[in-house]
């Protein structure tokens, strides 16, 4: 992850785009089942290890679950570590990646009690969301969670790095902004959509979060996020795999 001024973005992009481009992966979807498409395995792990009720999200391979509990919501933060092992086991059943628990902010006011995010070791890049992990929330007398880790079924090519000028052209979707007034937080990684989206491929992207902190005197802060493809094979549309996060033409 890099925290850059607007004027540093082009050089940073040029530095990143070296060597063989990371691969583009085909993902399992219910419309294109394959021999390795078994998101039911994830549900099995959650049912067996946690005793949770499970639901498969149509089309995506994501799994949502609910575990009835009797403890008040504030107590679950103390038990979040107990959830991590079964949660990581469920993630492993979904796809071959490395998974890491997320350090959550402490405090009884938090309703998110466990989170896990993923990295693709074969490409040596993180999955940068909004999917690509698992979360568990305390809600009334239940823990509600979802595992949003799609199974990769094949490598469909590497393509080529897109030039910094191509990336910057996509950032025109931001509209007019005062470049002296904002920071660009950017990371190269794989885009994985939220649970309800049907995603056909997972591709390397630059995820840009452009932020203006609320000024001391007057004016509002704001935060924009958009995903821009880092590579292309000049055949598949740039929008493929980005779902609603694609803001290009």
């Amino acid at each position: 992850m890099a925290d850059l001024s607007a004027y540093e973005v082009r050089d940073w992009l040029a530095d990143r785009a070296g060597g063989e481009p990371p691969p583009i992966f085909e993902l399992w979807t219910s419309e294109a089942p394959s021999a390795r498409s078994r998101p039911e395995e994830v549900a099995d792990v959650l049912r067996t290890s946690l005793g949770a009720q499970t639901w498969l999200v149509p089309g995506s391979g994501a799994v949502q679950f609910r575990l009835e509990v009797s403890s008040p919501i504030g107590e679950w933060a103390a038990h979040s570590a107990d959830l991590l092992v079964p949660l990581m086991d469920a993630c492993q059943a979904a796809d071959e990646r490395s998974f890491d628990p997320v350090d959550l902010e402490p405090g009884a006011s938090g309703a998110l009690v466990a989170a896990v995010r993923s990295r693709l070791p074969d490409a040596d890049l993180p999955v940068i969301g909004p999917g690509g992990g698992a979360t568990v929330f305390a809600d009334r007398n239940a823990l509600d969670g979802e595992v949003v880790v799609r199974r990769r079924t094949a490598t469909v090519g590497h393509g080529r790095w897109r030039r910094p000028s191509e990336i910057l052209r996509d950032l025109a979707a931001l509209g007019p902004i005062d470049l002296d007034d904002v920071r660009f937080v950017v990371e190269l990684g794989y885009f994985e959509a939220a649970a309800r989206a049907t995603q056909q491929v997972m591709r390397p992207v630059y995820l840009f979060v452009i932020e203006r902190v609320q000024p001391e005197q007057a004016g509002a802060g704001w935060r924009r996020a958009l995903a821009v493809p880092a590579t292309t094979d000049d055949e598949r549309p740039l929008s493929l795999g980005l779902e609603t996060w694609w803001e290009g033409e």
């Binding site: 992850m1 919501i73 997320v102 959550l104 902010e105 006011s109 938090g110 309703a111 998110l112 989170a115 995010r117 993180p126 999955v127 940068i128 969301g129 909004p130 690509g132 992990g133 979360t135 929330f137 809600d139 009334r140 509600d144 979802e146 509209g175 007019p176 902004i177 005062d178 937080v185 990371e187 959509a193 939220a194 649970a195 309800r196 995820l207 979060v209 932020e211 203006r212 902190v213 609320q214 007057a218 004016g219 509002a220 802060g221 704001w222 935060r223 924009r224 996020a225 958009l226 995903a227 779902e243 609603t244 996060w245 694609w246 803001e247």
Partner: protein
């Protein structure tokens, strides 16, 4: 049938030397929430106003009326500013301080969502003060952000997620926290926050655990509320 009203601003008039950038996708969160609630048979949809027609004077009572009256669920998307613990929704050419007026009518909304930056700063011990200073008989839940609120074509899917979870009978507060987190990136996540309003802390916590149907059945508050917050950030 629940009465849903949504309003948004996508562009803003300069105020003095201060500019407010466009929020081109802000309509999506409101529209996706309202249309999903209607499709799920939860609510009827009332668009209140957008852009230059979204005037604070129509909401805060300064023109005699409060546009949020008669609604059960109000969803607003605009810029947000927090100064000295007071949240201001920055609209096209005006500003609305919802803690000061507009949500206190006898038929005011039960739930108000401010899809905008910086509703509260939970690290400031005085954050409840503006929300506990007045009597709002009907208001029981306010949803928003304790951070900047990401706007983009993708992140604004949170509106649809929020509505879908409400329709699936999750707690309204939990639905908001989950919806925001589910559509945040791992890179710079937003902090979602919910404020429960009750006669005391236990009542406010019960509000935060309530489904929409249960929330509508809570009795009216007869005095200033105790306000309890929950937040989520991954």
């Amino acid at each position: 049938m629940v009465a849903f009203g949504g309003s948004w601003c996508t562009h803003f008039r300069r105020r003095g030397l201060t500019t407010y950038g466009r929020l081109a996708w802000s309509y999506r969160a409101v529209g996706l929430c309202g249309s999903t609630l209607e499709q799920e048979g939860v609510s009827d949809l009332r668009q209140l106003a957008c852009d230059e027609a979204f005037d604070a004077a129509n909401f805060d009572g300064s023109r005699g009326g409060q546009a949020a009256d008669g609604l059960d669920l109000l969803y607003i998307a605009a810029h947000g500013e927090l100064r000295r613990q007071v949240f201001t929704a920055v609209l096209h050419a005006s500003e609305w301080e919802p803690s000061a007026g507009g949500l206190d009518g006898a038929s005011g909304p039960r739930v108000a969502v401010f899809d905008a930056c910086n509703l509260v700063d939970l690290s400031d011990a005085g954050w409840p003060t503006p929300w506990e200073a007045a009597t709002r008989p009907r208001l029981r839940l306010v949803c928003g952000f304790a951070s900047n609120a990401t706007v983009g074509k993708g992140p604004t899917e949170r509106g649809r997620e929020f509505a879908a979870l409400i329709a699936a009978n999750h707690s309204v507060a939990g639905a908001w926290l989950r919806a925001v987190v589910a559509h945040s990136s791992w890179l710079q996540p937003d902090t979602a926050v919910v404020l429960g309003f009750g006669a005391d802390a236990a009542d406010a916590n019960a509000v935060l655990d309530a489904s929409l149907v249960d929330l509508l059945a809570f009795p009216a508050l007869t005095g200033p509320a105790t306000v309890v917050a929950r937040s989520a950030r991954r």
